[in-house]
Symmetry: D2
Subunit: 308 residues, 4 copies
């Protein structure tokens, strides 16, 4: 299907359920898609950081896109990450996800290799030249170790290279520059990747949100989005604060024992397992699993948010 321009609302970065031996758990992935659709979300983003894209083999990536596209069967647009180190490798992923039925690609700046704004520009221009579906830039400095400059994003938007921006930089001031600057480009989509300041991002004009926690509580984020759109500032803030409290689950993992990524993804998957959506909470190797006590604390967060 054609991607709405702009795309608005809640676009969960879909977790990738795994079996105990770390294969894609297709039935669980189908149930997760149904759970998100039932939650009222506006589109799905597969193969993002929350999807453990960095851990999935090419074969698994293909299976994920095909499964989600088939399961959602045209009810919602499907965006797909094409995360890899540089342009030529990303172009291979562009081909694969397009063939598998994705409606847009989401692409980071180059990483591993040292880069430069002129190279980032060339990177996106080459991708857009070759892609047959819209290209959305993914600004995620914590992963790629460079920040997309607002001016560069706006220039690429004005040139028709980029169809949108997913901002996971945490820098709302910089994101605002893109959101405000893109008002003259009516179809350009601006999405925040934050779980914690969706209300603030929408208030300053962003079109939507891609919160990892929306896997766990899609209804909450959809409610938040609708409250923001209706101008009900007070109730929006209350809903946002409930979701911020729920997001506390990402801290249950012991930082002496595991990284922050393992802890956050482990918590989301534990929550989806506890809620009965997926069959197994395993995260991909070499991530460290949560302990039973840590999983129990995830359950308390769910209970506190009225989700168990």
């Amino acid at each position: 299907m054609t991607l709405p321009a702009p795309l608005t609302g809640v676009v969960p970065p879909v977790c990738t359920p795994l079996t105990p031996d770390r294969e894609v758990d297709v039935p669980s992935l189908r149930r997760l898609v149904d759970h998100l659709v039932a939650g009222g979300v506006d589109a799905l983003f597969v193969l993002g950081s929350t999807s453990e894209v960095a851990f999935l083999t090419d074969r698994q990536r293909r299976l994920v896109v095909e499964t989600v596209v088939e399961q959602v069967s045209g009810k919602l647009p499907v965006l797909a990450g094409v995360i890899d180190m540089t342009t030529p490798r990303m172009l291979d992923h562009v081909g694969a996800v397009t063939a598998a039925g994705a409606d847009a690609v989401v692409a980071t700046a180059p990483f591993y290799a040292r880069t430069h704004p002129a190279e980032i520009s060339r990177h996106y221009r080459l991708i857009a030249e070759r892609a047959t579906i819209p290209v959305i830039a993914y600004d995620i400095p914590v992963a790629v170790h460079t920040k997309l400059p607002a001016g560069l994003v706006l220039e690429l938007a004005a040139d028709g290279v980029l169809a949108g921006l997913k901002d996971s930089s945490g820098d709302l001031g910089g994101f605002r520059e893109v959101v405000t600057g893109a008002r003259v480009l009516p179809g350009f989509t601006t999405l925040t990747g934050s779980e914690l300041i969706v209300d603030a991002a929408l208030a300053l004009g962003a079109h939507g949100a891609v919160p990892g926690l929306a896997n766990v509580d899609p209804h909450g984020y959809v409610r938040l989005d609708r409250l923001c759109r209706s101008g009900d500032v007070e109730r929006a803030r209350t809903e946002q604060e409930r979701l911020c409290a729920l997001f506390g689950m990402v801290t249950v993992g012991d930082p002496a024992r595991m990284g922050g990524g393992s802890a956050a993804l482990g918590a989301f998957k534990a929550a989806l397992h506890l809620r009965g959506v997926i069959a197994c909470p395993a995260t991909a190797e070499p991530q460290i699993p949560l302990s039973p006590e840590e999983v129990e604390r995830v359950g308390k967060y769910l209970a506190g948010a009225g989700l168990l």
Copy 2:
């Protein structure tokens, strides 16, 4: 062939010559292999950072390993990088390079995904468990944004997980801790990735070097290695300083216009082109090419080093 344990001497990270349309230039790659073999090097390392591994598609990576393995035809061991974001993706590369005939794999810590020492340990253990050829750790913080702790490397070495370390961290004090600590593990290989302090690394006990500049001047690095081994400190330092001066070529690219990686790889390839080894100096997309004036300055570095 079986990897020597330890592997000693000069192990160039082989550049990947490209055609003007950015395909692997197989005849040039064969000539480059011959040039390095003729230079007297002790092994070849393909698919490293200097090989532009981050820019090569899986198909191109396979072609590179196959070509080099065939061209070197058992005269020298071939190490192959398996650079990718995490364990499952790296394991796919381990399979591919092993099938293509590599004699050892060289693996970084996970990147893009946030990581943790416990996860890095698990990562290498899983790779070693599945690999049928030796695993060498690649410490390159500038690319992966974490530093391999010396204690962790030594623990994995003692457990038989790692067969060696290629240190591109620039931190000679930390590398020394591994080199000294690994003396009780006679087969463990320690290689510096520096162009500039090979003499210092060998003096403190490292087994060899993996200098990108050895593509351009293999004879120089081999001479340096032999002078170091024979204890001829003065002449070794003089040779090292000649190579340091030659390395100045990596600064010809204008930092206002391109990244440091583009500049360095562009200079190495321009030099190989000027020396008649490869047919085309192109670097992979989205790197910015050197200007004609910058290429001319590369030529002056070659002339200054007696290589033109």
Copy 3:
């Protein structure tokens, strides 16, 4: 005077006008204070980063506090930065600014020396133990290279160590955790240091803002603050966007020639000079001055915002 608890509204970090030979320009400083008071601001913050505190000698720092305290003569509270590397040195500044009449101190985490959360905690506890006026934590990772963890701030707030937080981290999600968590501590003050997202910070519950740009346009930030408090979301956003556009002046300085700090402080001072508030736009050594053309562009930003 006693610091309001919480302190609300607009608290400009007062620029330090300098003479051409880099002495504190006392008459200009007095005029700047009057300009800010006339603009309706709610308190003054001297010796912050925007005040060029890092460049002022101890003698100059004392002169600044004494001048501002005298000029404001009790009409508004005066907060004073005590920026230095570690606790013992900061305690000297605490003594000095208290003697000079400041109503609160604003203290960063230790810097230059490597630090640790346990040491940051000890640092603030020692300062609060010795200070006779309230202590406000200053979270400014771009300067001190550590981020104050929200949990630590809340713990120190609950223990009565900290009276408030000035957040210049750019991380609104993390700041929200403090703002929300501090609701049970009614006197605790939360201030954003951002120029660009004051509306968002106030909307999520922050008490006020410390925008450097309020030196240039205090009326604008006061208007923004009042619009936010009255719930006039639309007009608040319009005013905020006007100020965001004005803030563009910090980019006039050529990044090839000067640092971002020089550019921003140079632009603020050029604007104050063009508006007739201060006699000389000089910034402290070794900062690079704006060129005449760059100053002209600052003038265009002022004109565009209706301030010339």
Copy 4:
């Protein structure tokens, strides 16, 4: 006295002994000076990072310089750090240490404030213009968060601005560029700040070393220096490795409980206390002290090195 040009040999960064209530322990400082002089060192560096300069008040800094200058009474040159955020503040320290009898100043790039190569250049030029004693640049990115570019150091050296470089960057390749490039400037001094690669730095042409661990074992570093100068590579390496093993004491502090700086300085002071040189091992606030068990482990390192 006049600073030798170049200054060669071992230049310990003198620890600052403190009393239990964190005042400068003058008698212990005198004993430490005598201990270092007896160890055969070639000069003393006070108010460096190892001296806890970041923690000392201006009054304490003055007392340190006066005490050391008086105690050493012209037998050795005394270099003094003038560590502060920017030029104007450093110039105050230049005046103070010069009045107190220092023979040279050691100055970092600006920190806290964002900076730029052009500003760093201006900074050193202003300091040199005003100082009446030689100025040595201190490259310590871990503290100031910028790296001094080799080209800039050489330019300032050629212009007579800098009399030397103390390199604590850990980047031996970059240091080599300065050492080699400065050969045409016969009086320019190059000193490594590393404990672990003194032999390597001297081998490539550095004039001397400023190892913090030389407080604990000055005889060892002097022996190492003399072995290197006499070309006895084997015995030099053995001595260096003994000192590397001794340096392991900096890891006894529990990283979950304290920062790396607290751990290293705590270990040096514990060792000096155990060796009977200083009366109290206290480090300045807000550093966390070593536990009794950790101090015991320091003792084992001393015993292992034959120093107890």
